[in-house]
C-alpha cells in the first residue's frame, strides 16, 4: 500500500548509464552553464546544443519521446518570461490593446523570449537525462565528491528518503477522507458540503501533515543523534575514475568552451 511515486531513474545498460556519476554531474552542470551563457539570438549554437542533448538521449536508450514528454512539465514556468516580449525596447512587431492599455511587442523582446524558452527547454532535458540514467544515491555521492556543501547534500538525501513517507501519509489521509465522504439516504440532501467548508477541511489536512512532518523531523534527528551524529556526515571513499570517464569529461568541457567561443567571437 504505497504511493507508486515516479522515481525518475530508468535502469539501462547504455554508455550513458555506465558513465561515472561524478562525470555526468559535472558535464550536465557545464552543459547547463554553457546554454545559459550563450547570448540571445544565436540560433545556430542553440540548434547545435539541442542536437547534442538529443544525441545523448538517443545514446542513453531512455527514449527521446520519454524525455520530451517529461520536459513539457516545465512549459508553464516559461510563461513567466512572457512579459519580456513587451517590455524590451526595439523595433515594434505588433500591438495589443487591453482596455486602456496598449502593449507593443518588439523584435528584441520576441527574440529574447524565444531564446529563453529554447534555453530552458534544452537545460531541462539535460537534467532529465542525468536523473534518468543515474540512481539517486549515486547522484548524492557525486554531489558530495564534487564538493557541494555536505549539509546541502544531506538535506537532498533526506528529502528524497522522506518524500515517499510523506507521500504515503498523504495517500492514507486522503483515503480516510474519501471513506467518510458519503451520501445520505435522504434524497433531498446534497452531499459534498460548501466549497468554503471543503477548503477548510483541506487546509486542516495540510496543516496536520505539516505538523507531523515537523514532529517526524525531530524524531529522525534524535534517532541520528542516538547513533552518534554530530553534524558531520562521513562517507566511504569513492573509487577512482576510469580513463574513458576522464576522456568524456575533458572532451565535453572542450566542446562547450568551443561553442561558447563560437558564440562570442562570431
Amino acid at each position: 500500500m504505497h504511493v507508486h511515486y515516479q522515481d525518475p531513474y530508468r535502469p539501462g545498460r547504455s554508455l550513458i548509464h555506465a558513465l561515472d556519476a561524478r562525470v555526468k554531474l559535472l558535464v550536465t552542470i557545464a552543459f547547463i552553464l554553457t546554454v545559459a551563457l550563450i547570448p540571445p539570438g544565436f540560433w545556430p549554437v542553440y540548434i547545435l546544443l539541442l542536437s547534442l542533448i538529443i544525441s545523448v538521449e538517443i545514446l542513453s536508450e531512455i527514449g527521446v519521446v520519454y524525455v520530451l514528454r517529461r520536459s513539457i512539465l516545465v512549459l508553464p514556468f516559461m510563461l513567466a518570461a512572457l512579459p519580456i516580449i513587451f517590455t524590451l525596447q526595439g523595433a515594434p512587431l505588433f500591438t495589443l490593446s487591453l482596455g486602456g492599455w496598449t502593449l507593443t511587442a518588439t523584435q528584441t523582446g520576441m527574440e529574447r523570449f524565444i531564446s529563453i524558452v529554447l534555453k530552458s527547454w534544452t537545460s531541462v532535458q539535460a537534467a532529465i537525462v542525468l536523473t534518468s540514467t543515474t540512481p539517486f544515491p549515486d547522484l548524492l555521492l557525486a554531489m558530495r565528491s564534487v564538493k557541494i556543501p555536505r549539509m546541502l547534500v544531506t538535506i537532498f538525501g533526506m528529502m528524497w528518503r522522506y518524500l515517499f513517507v510523506l507521500g504515503d501519509e498523504t495517500l492514507r489521509m486522503m483515503r480516510a477522507r474519501a471513506s467518510r465522504s458519503g451520501q445520505s439516504d435522504t434524497p433531498s440532501l446534497k452531499a459534498g458540503g460548501s466549497i468554503i467548508w471543503r477548503a477548510h477541511v483541506t487546509g486542516g489536512m495540510a496543516g496536520s501533515l505539516f505538523i507531523r512532518a515537523f514532529e517526524r523531523s525531530d524524531r529522525i534527528y534524535m534517532a541520528m543523534v542516538a547513533r552518534g551524529y554530530d553534524g558531520d556526515v562521513r562517507t566511504l571513499a569513492q573509487p577512482k575514475t576510469s580513463l574513458l570517464n576522464w576522456l568524456v569529461l575533458v572532451f565535453s568541457l572542450l566542446l562547450f568552451t568551443a561553442l561558447l567561443a563560437l558564440a562570442y567571437l562570431l
Binding site: 492514507r172 471513506s179 440532501l189 486542516g204 496536520s208
Partner: protein
Amino acid sequence: MHHSIEIENLSFKYPDGHQALRDVCLHIEPCEKVALVGPNGAGKSTLILHLNGILTGEGDIRSAGLEVKKENLERIRARIGLVFQSPEDQLFSPTVLDDVAFGPMYQGLPEDEVQARVFEALEVVGMGEYGARVSHHLSLGEKKRIAIATVLSMTPEVLVLDEPTSGLDPRARRALINLLRELDLTMLVSSHDMLMVRELFPRVVIMDEGQIVADGQTRELLDDAALLEAHGLEMPDLQ
C-alpha cells in the same frame, strides 16, 4: 433484508504487480461480528479497502446492499464505517469536533442534526468532553476511540475496523473491547489480537497470501493448532 457484505471471487493486483487478493469470497449477515486474522501482508487491509471502493479489483462486491461501483460509492461510504489502523490517518482535522463532524457535514445534514450526531458519537465512545481538543495532543487510546466516533457519527450499517487494539496499553485495550462489545452493529474487524478475537467474535476468517484459508466458528478454528501454525498465527493462551 440484504447481506451486509457480499464478496464474490475478488482478485486484486497492485500496480507494482504484487497479487494481493486471489479469488476471495466472503458473506457477512446483518449484525454478525466477524474477525479477520492473518499474518502481515496477507491482504487484510487490501480487502478492507475494497469494501467501500477505495481500491477496485476484479470480482463482485455488494456492501450494505449496494453494488460497489462508481455511481454508488458515496452512498456506500455513508453506510460502511471504515476505521483505518492508524488514527493519524483517520484524524485529519485540527480539532476532535471537526473530525467527528466531517462525515455528517459532508452528507449535508442540517447543523443541529450534525451537532446531535457528534455529541452522541463522542458519548458512545466515552469521549464526551473532548470535542474542542486538538487531536494530535491526545494519547493513542483516545485517538483510537475518536477515530471510531468519526464513523459512528455517520450512523453506518457496518463497522469495519483495521487492527483496533494494536499498540494500546492493557487499560485502553480493555476499554476498546468493552466499547466494541456494546456497539450493536455489523462488524468486520481485522486484528492480530487473538485474545480479543476469542472474546468478542463468534466467527473468524483466516487470510494468508491473499486468500481466505479458513472461515468458521471461532471456538473451532482457534483450537486448531495445526491450522493456526500453518498460517503464522498463535493459539490464544487463556490462563
